[in-house]
Amino acid sequence: MTSAAELVERAEAAVAEGSDAFSNASSLTDLSEAERQFLGKTSVLNEIREAIKSVDGSERAVVGKAVSGAKAELEAAHAARRVFLDSQAAALSAIRDRLDLTLGPHEYVRGHLHPVTRIWRELEDVFVGLGYKVAEGPEVETDWYNFESLNFPPGHPARAMQDTLYVRLGDRESVMLRTHTSPVQVRTMEAQKPPIYVVAPGRAFRRDTLDARHSPVFHQIEGLAVDQGITLGDLLGTIEAFIHALFGTDIKARFLPSFFPFTEPSLEFAMSCVFCKGEGCTVCSRTGWIELGGAGMVDPNVFAAVGIDPDVYSGFAFGFGIDRVAQLLYGVDHIKNLWDGDVRFIRQF
C-alpha cells in the first residue's frame, strides 16, 4: 500500500518542479518539452493518478484532490509562460516585419482639381444654396447675343470698351468669341419665362496675349434674377449674401454707381479686403477694398429684346471674374500659372 501522504507530497513536489521548469523555459520548444514532462502521459502526476488505486479507499479522495489541484496549478503556470513566450515571439516577429511607413506610396493616389474649378464649384454651390440654377451658353456668339440684345447698338461707344476676338464665319464681325458671359442672360430669358434665378459661370475672351497679367481667356460668373417685384435692394442684398457666404460675414460689401449698357441703374461692387479687413495692404492697393464686378437692374431694352414685359417683371444681373477670386484666395500672382498646366502649380491644390 502506498501512503496517501507520500503521494500528496510527490504531487506538491511535481508542482514545484514543473512550475520552475515552465518559468525557466526560454522558448516555445522548451516549454512544450516541459509540458510533455509535467503534464503529459508520462508525467509524475499521471503516475500518481495511476497509484491512487493502491491507496486506501478512504484516502483516495484526498490524493485525487491533490492531483487535480496540482494539475490546475501546473496548467496555469504553463499558460502564463505560454502567454509570455507568445508575446515575446510576436514582438520579435513584429520587429523583423517592420515597415517604414514614411516611404512614399506606390502611386499618386489623388490628382488635383484646377484652382479655378475649385472656386467655380464653390461659387455654384453658394448660388445653388441661394436658390439659383446653373445656366450655360455657347462660347462663340453672334453679334445679337453678345452685343445688340444687350443694348450695345452698332457704333455704340460702349462697344469700344470690349476688345473683341472675331471668328471667320458669316459676315465680317458678325460672329465672335463672347466678350462676357452676359449673352447667357439673353439666352436664358428667351428659353424660359420668369421667375428666373440662374447663374452662368463660363469662359469669356478678349484680344490679349497670355502673360503674367493678361489672358485672352478668362472665367466669369453671371447672375440673373427676373421676377415680379425684384428691386435694386434685392440686388445689393444678394451680392452681400454671397460675399458673406464666400468670404465670411465680417467682410463688407460696397456699391458704387457705374455704367453698363445692359443694366440700369448700374453699379460696381467691391468687398472689404479679406487680407487686411479693410485696413489697407498691398493686395487691395491700400484702399481697403477689393473690386469684384459689375451689376445692375436689367435694362428695359434687354427685356424688350427677349419679349419680357418690364411693367410686370423686373430683374437684376451681376457678373464677376472667377479667376480673380481664385487669384485672391490662393494668392496666385501670375495669370499665366492658370493656363500653362504646370503640375508644380496644380499639385498645390
Binding site: V175, G233, P265, S314, V343, I346
Partner: protein
C-alpha cells in the same frame, strides 16, 4: 478725365470739405477716382529767388555761378543751365530741400566751388518733361515764397474714370455740378450767348451741307496776338494732362476741359474763300491733319472746309495742317459746333484717330452750349491773347435741339429701387442735376444725352440717394429652387473620377496655332479661324483638347516633371452644322499620362501603357453607369498604328484612346511613352445608363471553372469575354481573363486566352451536372463564334 480741385472750386465752394471726403463723394456719384495726384507733395523747401548776377566758373566752361536772393538772404549756387541771367526769378532748392524721387539737396563742391543749393527746371520739380533750362517764375512772385503756391503745386488732381454715358463729366463743370448736388452746395457758372447772329462774321459765311451730321455750327471771329498762355492757364492744362501749345490753342483746350465744349480755331487769314463749308468727304479724298499724317477719307466722313470747299479739318476729330494757327496768325475763326456722335465714332474708329475732342463728340456734347462756350473762349482770348472780338456771330442751327421730356412715376422709382420716396423728394433729388420735375413730367438738360427714358431717371435718383443707403434684401419666391442639372452633376463626377485616378486638372488655351494640330497629328482643315488674332499662336479655335494637353505634357517634361497624369474638360469647336450660324460646340474630356508610373522604392517604376488609360475609361463608365462602352481597334490620327482604339457607345464613335504616335512624341519632344484618351463628354453622359436598381446578392456558394481558349491572334479578348458572358447567361457571375499565352506549340498566329468563369445561382447551390453543362455551353459558344479550340 483729370480734374484739378482748384478748378472745380471755381463753380462750387468745396473749401471746407476734406479731400478724402470729396474723393468718396466722387466714387459714390459714379465718377470713379482712379488716383489722387498731389503734384507738390514731393517738393519741399523750394522757394522763389531772384538771380542777382551770373559769373563764369573759374575752372569750368559749361557751368556758371549765380548769386541768388531768396528773401531771407543771398547764396551762391553753381548752375549748368544755359538760360539763366541776372534778374530772372527762379525756383531755388536750398540745402535740405527735397525734390521728387526723394532727392535731398546737399551742399556740394563742383570743380572747387561750393554750391549752396540748386536752381530747378520744370522736370526737376515734377512738372513735366521740360529740362531745357531753369523754370522762369513770374517776375512779381514774392521772394522766399514756397514755389508750390506760385506754381499751383498745392493743388489736388482727381484722376477720374468717366463711364461712356456721362459726357458732361468730361468737363470740370459736370464734375462740379454733381459734387454741388451731393454736398448740397450752390453751383454757379456764367453763361452768355454770343452777340447778335448774322449771316457772316468778319466777312466769313458758314454753309452746312450736311445738317444731319452737323446740326449746329457757331462761328466767331477775332484778331489775336499769338504767344504763350499765362502760367495759370498752362498750369491748369498741365495738371489736367494736356500740353500747353500757344495762347489761342490753350484757350480752346481750356474751354473744352472746363465745359466739355470742344472748339477749333482756324487761322482766318489762311482759310481760302474766307468762309466755312461743312460737307461729307468724297471717297478717296485726302487731308493732312495737324499731326502731319495724310488721312484718306470716305464719303461717310465729315469735313469742315474753307470757303472754296477744300477740307481743313476732320470734323470733331482733328484739324488740318493748312489752316492751323501759328505764330504768324493775326485773325482767327472759332468753330463751336455740335456733331452727331455716331458719325464721329465711326470715322474716329476707322481712322484709328482719337482726340480729346472726338472722345467728347462721340459720347455727345451739349448742342446748346456751342454759343455760350464760344463766348467763354472769346473772353479768354481777350484776356490771354489780346484778342479783339469781331462783333456778331454766325449760328447755323436750323432745328434747335430742345430739352427732352420724360415721364417719371414715383411708384415706379420706389418699386425698382426698393425705397419709399415721395414725389417731392424725387424732384428735390433731381433738381440740382438740372432736371426739372413737375408731377410726373421731367424735363432733362441737353448736356445729359444719356437721360432718355424713365429708367435713366431712376438711376439718377439711386445715385442721389446713395447706393449704400438703399435697404438690402433678398428676393424670396416659392419658385426659387436651386440645383445643378443632371448633366452638370455628371461633369463634376467625371472630373472627380479623374482626380481619384491620380490625374491633375489643367486648363489650356482654347486658342491654338495651326502647327499645334500638325504636331498632334491632326489636320488643320475644317477648323474655325480667328479673324483678328494678336499672334499666330492664338489664331484658331481648338477642334480637340489633346493638342493643347500634349503640349502641357511636353511643358512639364521640359520643366523636370516627365511623369505626369493630366486631364482637361473643356469646349471644342467644329464648323457650323448646315444652316447654323455658330460653330458646333461640345464638351470634351481628355486625359494623358506620360513616361513612368512612379512606384519606387517598392518596385521599379514602370512605363505607362495603354491600360493606364483604359482603366480610367472603365472607372468613368462605372461612375456614370454607362450601359455600353466598347473599344474597337482602329487607326486613329495621332496615335500608334496598332496601339489605339476607338471608343464606342451604342454603336457610335465618341472618342479614341491609345499610345501617342512616335511622330507626335518627337514633334512635341515628349519624354518617353505617352498614353492618352479624348472622348466627347456630352455624348458620354447622353449615352444609355444602367438602371440604378440593385441586383440581389446570392447566399449560395459559387462554382468556378477555368477555360483556356486558343483563338487566332487578333481576336479581341473583349469579344471572347462577351461571348462567354452571353453563353453563361443569368447564372454567370463573373468572367476574368487571367492569362494570355503565345507559343510555338500553339501554332503561328494563335493565342491562348485563359478565363476564370464563375457561376452562381441566387436561390440554390448549382449541381456538378449543371456546372458541366454551363461550362460546355461556354466552350461551344466560343468555338462557334471565334473558331476557338479548348486548350487541354
Amino acid at each position: 478725365m483729370r480734374a484739378p480741385l482748384s478748378w472745380i472750386r471755381e463753380f462750387t465752394p468745396l473749401e471746407n470739405i476734406e479731400v478724402s471726403a470729396i474723393a468718396d463723394a466722387l466714387d459714390q456719384l459714379g465718377l470713379e477716382v482712379e488716383r489722387i495726384d498731389e503734384p507738390g507733395r514731393d517738393v519741399n523747401g523750394v522757394v522763389v529767388a531772384r538771380i542777382l548776377n551770373v559769373v563764369p566758373h573759374p575752372d569750368a566752361d559749361r557751368v556758371r555761378l549765380a548769386d541768388v536772393d531768396f528773401g531771407d538772404g543771398e547764396l551762391r549756387v553753381v548752375c549748368g543751365a544755359p538760360n539763366i541771367e541776372a534778374g530772372m526769378v527762379v525756383p531755388f532748392a536750398r540745402v535740405g530741400a527735397v525734390l521728387p524721387g526723394d532727392f535731398t539737396i546737399e551742399r556740394r563742391k563742383i570743380r572747387g566751388v561750393v554750391s549752396e543749393g540748386m536752381l530747378c527746371s520744370a522736370r526737376e520739380l515734377g512738372l513735366g518733361d521740360d529740362h531745357a533750362g531753369i523754370l522762369a517764375l513770374p517776375d512779381d512772385a514774392r521772394l522766399g515764397t514756397d514755389v508750390r503756391e506760385v506754381l499751383g503745386l498745392d493743388d489736388v488732381v482727381f484722376d477720374l474714370s468717366i463711364t461712356p454715358n456721362r459726357p458732361d463729366a468730361m468737363g470740370i463743370i459736370g464734375v462740379a455740378r454733381d459734387l454741388a448736388a451731393h454736398f448740397g452746395l450752390p453751383f454757379e457758372m456764367d453763361e452768355h450767348e454770343p452777340g447778335p447772329v448774322a449771316d457772316e462774321v468778319a466777312g466769313a459765311h458758314v454753309i452746312v451741307e450736311a445738317p444731319d451730321r452737323c446740326p449746329r455750327f457757331v462761328g466767331l471771329a477775332a484778331s489775336v496776338v499769338m504767344g504763350d498762355s499765362p502760367q495759370w492757364m498752362q498750369r491748369r492744362l498741365t495738371l489736367a494732362g494736356m500740353r500747353p501749345i500757344s495762347n489761342v490753342v490753350d484757350v480752346t483746350n481750356y474751354v473744352m476741359l472746363e465745359r466739355c465744349r470742344p472748339l477749333h480755331a482756324f487761322d482766318l487769314g489762311r482759310l481760302p474763300g474766307r468762309g466755312i463749308v461743312v460737307r461729307l468727304a468724297r471717297d478717296g479724298e485726302t487731308l493732312t491733319t495737324l499731326d502731319g499724317v495724310e488721312r484718306r477719307l470716305t464719303s461717310s466722313d465729315l469735313l469742315v472746309c474753307d470757303g472754296e470747299s477744300i477740307g481743313q479739318s476732320i470734323a470733331g476729330i482733328m484739324g488740318g495742317a493748312a489752316a492751323e494757327v501759328s505764330g504768324a496768325t493775326t485773325e482767327i475763326l472759332l468753330e463751336s459746333a455740335y456733331f452727331e456722335p455716331s458719325g464721329i465714332a465711326r470715322t474716329s474708329k476707322r481712322l484709328g484717330l482719337r482726340s480729346e475732342a472726338s472722345a467728347r463728340f462721340e459720347r455727345g456734347v451739349d448742342p446748346n452750349n456751342a454759343g455760350t462756350g464760344a463766348t467763354r473762349a472769346m473772353e479768354l482770348f481777350a484776356e490771354v491773347a489780346s484778342a479783339v472780338p469781331v462783333p456778331g456771330a454766325v449760328d447755323v442751327y436750323p432745328k434747335p435741339i430742345e430739352r427732352a421730356h420724360i415721364t417719371v412715376r414715383t411708384e415706379r422709382v420706389n418699386r425698382l429701387l426698393g425705397v419709399a420716396l415721395s414725389s417731392d423728394e424725387i424732384a428735390a433729388y433731381l433738381a440740382p442735376l438740372g432736371i426739372d420735375v413737375r408731377e410726373t413730367n421731367a424735363t432733362v438738360p441737353t448736356f445729359r444725352p444719356d437721360l432718355e427714358r424713365e429708367i435713366d431717371l431712376v438711376e439718377e435718383v439711386a445715385r442721389r440717394v446713395g447706393l449704400d443707403r438703399i435697404p438690402r434684401s433678398i428676393p424670396s419666391s416659392p419658385e426659387k429652387i436651386g440645383g445643378l442639372s443632371a448633366l452638370q452633376r455628371d461633369r463634376r463626377a467625371a472630373a472627380d473620377v479623374l482626380v481619384g485616378a491620380g490625374y491633375d486638372e489643367v486648363f489650356t488655351l482654347p486658342l491654338l496655332a495651326p502647327i499645334d494640330l500638325a504636331n498632334a497629328g491632326l489636320d488643320a482643315e475644317a477648323v474655325i479661324e480667328v479673324e483678328n488674332p494678336l499672334r499666330a499662336e492664338e489664331s484658331i479655335l481648338r477642334p480637340a483638347l489633346l493638342p493643347g494637353l500634349l503640349r502641357s505634357v511636353a511643358y512639364n517634361a521640359a520643366h523636370g516633371e516627365p511623369d505626369v497624369a493630366l486631364f482637361e474638360n473643356g469646349t471644342v469647336f467644329a464648323p457650323p452644322e448646315p444652316g447654323a450660324a455658330l460653330p458646333a460646340e461640345r464638351r470634351s474630356l481628355a486625359f494623358a499620362r506620360s513616361h513612368h508610373v512612379h512606384r519606387s522604392p517598392h518596385e521599379p517604376d514602370r512605363a505607362v501603357d495603354v491600360y493606364d488609360v483604359t482603366a480610367v475609361l472603365d472607372a468613368l463608365t462605372q461612375e456614370l453607369r454607362i450601359a455600353d462602352v466598347r473599344l474597337e481597334a482602329a487607326s486613329v490620327a495621332g496615335f500608334h498604328p496598332t496601339r489605339a482604339a476607338q471608343v464606342l457607345t451604342g454603336g457610335r464613335v465618341i472618342g479614341a484612346l491609345g499610345e501617342v504616335a512616335t511622330t507626335v512624341a518627337e514633334a512635341l519632344a515628349l519624354a518617353g511613352p505617352v498614353v492618352a484618351c479624348e472622348i466627347d463628354l456630352d455624348a458620354l453622359v447622353a449615352a444609355a445608363r444602367v438602371a440604378r436598381a440593385t441586383v440581389p446578392v446570392s447566399r449560395f456558394p459559387a462554382s468556378s471553372v477555368d477555360l483556356a481558349l486558343v483563338v487566332a491572334d487578333g481576336v479581341p479578348a473583349a469579344e471572347v469575354e462577351r461571348t462567354l458572358a452571353r453563353a453563361g447567361g443569368e447564372l454567370l457571375e463573373r468572367v476574368e481573363l487571367f492569362d494570355v499565352f503565345r507559343s510555338e506549340a500553339l501554332g503561328e498566329g494563335r493565342v491562348s486566352l485563359a478565363f476564370a468563369v464563375r457561376f452562381r445561382a441566387l436561390d440554390r447551390t448549382l449541381t456538378d451536372e449543371q456546372v458541366r453543362t454551363l461550362r460546355q455551353g461556354c466552350i461551344d459558344a466560343v468555338v462557334a463564334a471565334h473558331s476557338a479550340e479548348l486548350r487541354s
